[in-house]
């Protein structure tokens, strides 16, 4: 493997980490926030909305990529709005790749966080509110500390999923070296170009990172203890 190939692998790794971290940060707020709402409130169409939010887990990434192109493209409703008012273009940018990664990993974070919140006995929230603590503070003082292991496990899974994102990213952000060419896309390009050594190196790198994330996630996953209360 040439030093040029090695450098491009490192650049792709750096870019992949940047995109995955941004996608994870978005989900930490969006998916965890929605999960809390779904776990603690009863409202009409809750199951239907849950199914819609979980769709990215079962849809082919190319279908998600297509949806994103239609919405975020220059002719799309969101793309046109962003370009007209803010001069922002998302297609073929790393920010576009962040959105693709965030949407494909959303269900993993959302589902795990919802389960984690639901495993917290509602009596804890009720006890805290009868002690005159405001709901907003109860979330940070009681619910989140009791649910955080499940949330972290889901967030790590989401991060791993973002690292491996391929189909939707390729459709939305393309494969521009140094800008949108992530690790998984670089593997594809290396195999296409017959750069076997680079492909081998990248495959090992991705496998090791993925393995470490899963080990950590397993360690954090609650072992059925969170359900019991004092």
């Amino acid at each position: 493997m040439s030093s040029f190939e090695f450098d491009s692998a490192l650049i792709a790794l750096g870019l992949t980490l940047k995109i995955s971290l941004w996608a994870t940060a978005i989900n930490l707020i969006l998916a965890v926030g929605l999960a809390y709402y779904f776990a603690t409130r009863r409202f009409a169409l809750r199951n239907t909305l849950d199914a819609i939010l979980t769709l990215p887990m079962v849809l082919p990434p190319t279908v998600l990529g297509y949806y994103l192109l239609v919405l975020l493209g220059r002719q799309g409703p969101i793309g046109e709005f962003l370009e007209h008012y803010f001069n922002i273009r998302l297609i073929f940018t790393w920010q576009g790749a962040v959105i693709a990664a965030a949407i494909t990993s959303f269900p993993l974070v959302f589902k795990s966080a919802r389960a984690a919140f639901e495993s917290v006995n509602p009596q804890f929230r009720q006890a805290a509110s009868s002690l005159s603590i405001h709901h907003f503070f109860i979330f940070f003082r009681v619910t989140l500390p009791l649910a955080w292991r499940g949330i972290m496990a889901g967030t790590l899974l989401g991060f791993a999923r973002s690292m491996g994102e391929f189909g939707a990213t390729l459709m939305v952000a393309g494969s521009i070296p140094g800008q949108t060419q992530t690790l998984s896309i670089t593997v594809y390009e290396a195999v296409q170009a017959g750069q076997d050594q680079l492909a081998n190196f990248l495959v090992m790198l991705i496998s090791i990172v993925g393995f470490l994330i899963l080990i950590t996630s397993n360690y954090l996953t609650p072992r059925g203890m969170r359900n019991t209360h004092a």
Binding site: Q126, A128, S130, I133, R141, L146
Partner: protein
């Protein structure tokens, strides 16, 4: 006795007395509520309650229709499990909203569905003690007791223990367990912690859901008398629900029998 801190006891009593007059609202008479004035000099009504609610689903569905008025400081709602006692108590605490009804505590209206008044649990200043205590698993005994003293975003520090918490730790003989976590405590200790946690922020009333049900027979008596002592020291109105007539006999100044959501005797 809270002999270690008489001033805190006095301030507690003052706050109890002030709070009812501060938040006084005009009284409304409901004909359906039976009066239970026992003394000729007509002591102050503590609780006036008139609640209608539907519980359960399908075949197990039944209506709760509870009306009483009492001047007693220690009231026991006695009845078999599934009679709707816990739900009634949760309605008093604001944790369950009844279909319709009125709850007046002393001069304060906590709920009046006809006037669309429904105070949140936070506004009611009525502490609720759960049957299995619901102690926060991630907090120490001292943090649990001091939970209500810290109103903001953060839980009380695990290192620095508030003076008010120390008073309770001493009073309940739990000073050695201050840094333990709930899973390290016995049933009786958990109950003491839950009691202290419910009282440390000086609520206007305390509601207790089957406080002795999870305890061994021999410590039951001990905790019963502790509860009666605390009640008379603080002069704090309490409502206790139980399925055990012995609890009622030991604790109640006024017993209300409930079955299938209705009052069947007093």
């Amino acid at each position: 006795m809270l002999s270690t801190n008489d001033s805190s006891k006095n301030s507690l009593n003052n706050s109890l007395n002030n709070s009812s007059s501060d938040r006084s609202k005009p009284a409304t008479n409901k004909n359906s509520v039976r009066a239970q004035h026992r003394n000729s000099n007509q002591p102050q009504t503590v609780w006036q309650i008139d609640l209608q609610h539907t519980l359960g689903q399908g075949e197990t569905q039944f209506n709760v229709d509870i009306q009483f008025k009492s001047t007693a400081q220690r009231i026991v709602l006695l009845g078999p499990s599934g009679a709707g006692k816990s739900q009634t108590l949760m309605m008093l605490a604001g944790l369950v909203e009844p279909k319709q009804g009125l709850i007046r505590f002393k001069e304060r209206v906590l709920l009046d569905t006809s006037k669309k008044i429904c105070l949140t649990p936070q506004q009611r200043r009525v502490s609720y003690m759960f049957q299995d205590y619901a102690l926060f698993e991630h907090l120490t005994v001292a943090q649990n007791i001091g939970f209500a003293l810290s109103k903001g975003l953060f839980n009380p520090s695990s290192k620095r223990i508030d003076d008010k918490v120390n008073v309770w730790l001493d009073r309940l003989g739990m000073a050695d367990a201050a840094l333990k976590y709930p899973h390290q405590l016995s049933g009786g200790q958990k109950q003491r912690v839950a009691l202290a946690r419910s009282l440390v922020h000086q609520p206007d009333a305390l509601l207790l859901d089957e406080p002795f049900a999870a305890l061994d027979r021999d410590i039951r008596g001990e905790l019963r008398s502790l509860l009666i002592d605390v009640q008379s020291e603080l002069n704090l109105p309490m409502i206790l629900i139980t399925h055990d007539a012995e609890d009622a006999q030991a604790f109640a100044q006024d017993t209300i029998l409930i079955n299938a959501g209705k009052i069947v005797g007093e």
